[in-house]
Subunit: 345 residues, 2 copies
């Protein structure tokens, strides 16, 4: 029998922490104009990415990102054992059509905007367990495709309340590997040391225009469990980074944790609040989407770790598990959050 690597109630501590040996991010025009603009690998001005519809645009975005993360590592598709990927579109069509020609065995995954956390978790498990030498974790989202999928087509011109978030047009990818392969002088290596995987948490929120409130309880449960399972306090991390709670969700998360005597307010960061300038970009509660946390991780967070500005972060992509059908049928919006411990070595 293999040695047990699971600890506490919901966590895994990796015996041979897998390396993140390459990361890539490609975003749309609006994201490129935001505060993280200079950090992305590529900004594509054309929202159609040269294609004929929003879905194909997102597929193309994901394909280009997959190619970029390979080329940055000096690898080719045959060097990757598995691709773990997902997106927000029904039946994951951005992923299916985006990465088909890479010709890599695929695990399609779905955790709404938490998908990057799930993909990295399964990727790290495959590598740490000796099931793969190198895997790719990748997600994407597209503003126009998501609005059409979950709310209204853009042409309808509907008004959005201030609690609504703005789906990021972007795709982020990492290559997770058993060996360090790409250390550069003066840069630290990046490893995944553990994960805390989320349960579905439903506080009864029914407003698809306020997903921060729906996801905050899930982020709370996962972060609290991470502290308990690893027997650590918030100061173990330099940053605790949620996916896309936005202003509304962030405040709920901080309050819920405070009630349990955990104060993370001095080290909490939310990808949705970093990616856009709320004062000038009119994005309401903040950025969201599978791409939001993925591009913030790959463009910004990993760079901070490589440069030694931060040493340990808890990366907690957050997802709202609704569909247009479930929303129209009056159902709640359950949340989920998958935490990944990313550390400089």
């Amino acid at each position: 029998m293999a040695k047990n690597k699971y600890i506490g109630k919901q966590s895994i501590e990796f015996g041979n922490p897998p390396y993140i040996i390459s990361e890539a991010s490609i975003v749309g025009k609006k994201e490129g104009e935001g505060p993280l603009g200079p950090l992305f690998d590529q900004i594509i001005e054309d929202p159609m990415v040269g294609k004929e519809n929003w879905e194909e645009a997102e597929s193309e975005l994901m394909k280009l990102t997959a190619q970029k993360v390979l080329s940055k590592a000096g690898l080719k598709n045959t060097d990757i054992r598995y691709l773990i990927g997902g997106d927000l579109l029904g039946q994951l069509i951005a992923t299916s059509f985006g990465i088909a020609e890479l010709n890599i065995p695929v695990f399609g995954v779905y955790g709404a905007c938490s998908t990057m956390g799930e993909a990295m978790t399964i990727g790290a498990i495959l590598v740490d367990g000796g099931f793969a030498d190198r895997v790719m974790a990748i997600t994407s989202s597209h503003f126009a495709g998501a609005e059409k999928q979950f709310r209204f087509p853009l042409d309808y011109g509907n008004q959005r309340p201030f609690s609504a978030s703005w789906t990021v047009t972007g795709s982020g990818a990492v290559i997770i590997a058993a060996k360090s392969e790409s250390k550069k002088p003066g840069e630290k290596e990046i490893v995944i040391t553990g994960v805390t995987s989320g349960k579905i948490v439903d506080y009864g929120i029914k407003d698809s225009m306020n997903m921060g409130a729906a996801m905050a309880p899930a982020a709370f449960e996962t972060i609290k469990q991470n502290f308990e399972d690893f027997n650590i306090q918030p100061d173990y991390y330099d940053k605790i980074i949620t996916g896309d709670l936005g202003y509304v969700g962030r405040n709920i998360l901080l309050e819920l944790l405070k009630e349990k005597d955990y104060d993370i307010s001095d080290r909490h960061m939310d990808c949705g609040l970093e990616i856009f300038d709320m004062n000038t970009q009119d994005t309401h509660a903040g950025g969201s989407g599978c791409g939001c946390s993925a591009v913030t991780l790959t463009a910004y967070i990993i760079k901070q770790l490589k440069q030694g500005i931060w040493n340990r972060v808890l990366f907690v992509p957050t997802g709202a598990l609704l569909s247009q059908v479930s929303f129209n049928e009056g159902n709640t919006v359950p949340g989920i959050a998958h935490a990944v411990m990313v550390e400089a070595k």
Copy 2:
């Protein structure tokens, strides 16, 4: 570093083959009237499963199946480390709403009708790698929900060509564990010895009413790769069992394999062809859906293995990666197939 467990191009050989310690199947009325009827754990006559819409009906079906697979093993929800599950509905809502109250960490997965293969693969990896002691793999589908999702609402009364398949109303679940826990006198134990995970295969089929033809090339690629990676011939297996190719897809698969000098015609079986009586049940090309292979595995295949009638089977759920949107936009229907080696011990 962990010992490498991957072999060939796309396969894993498990060092400590995980056990399937419990399995459950719940189906609808039509499936209960089919040839496998007496084998299912439960048949629910009401297509709404006591709920108000098709989506909630499918969620309920999945919840009941999860409860059944636990109770058959004498386990409770807290005994399960992870639940790996998926369905055909957009954003996996049957799963999200079905298993929320089980309160188990969740990995949502999507591989269309191949989802049970993907879920069992990830489940076996978690257990073999020491990342979990027990996990549940579960999928579901519902005829009416799938028609509404992918084609037309039933009320529309559209005609279906003979190449169309009939989505199975049903949910199947297995518990995969590190130790044998439930061996009964006279019954063999069931283990997962290896997997061959699929790539996305696109032969350019565009007909959503002929998914067998779209999936057959994916099944072909995965089965051929399994033979090559493990250096075995078809006669290694007592049965090679595809998910839901139906009549059309089965013939294509057999032809494609024959071109490579593999003749599996004497041991091939398709879950879609087993579950309904084609002569009396008017299901055209056969059964399909995430539930089709899952309930055939749990009601029929595992029983045959337990009783020693078969000793080794290659279980190959097959998926057609389309959505209503991709179909309406004129896209192809790519296929995927995930093979799981299930053996009696």
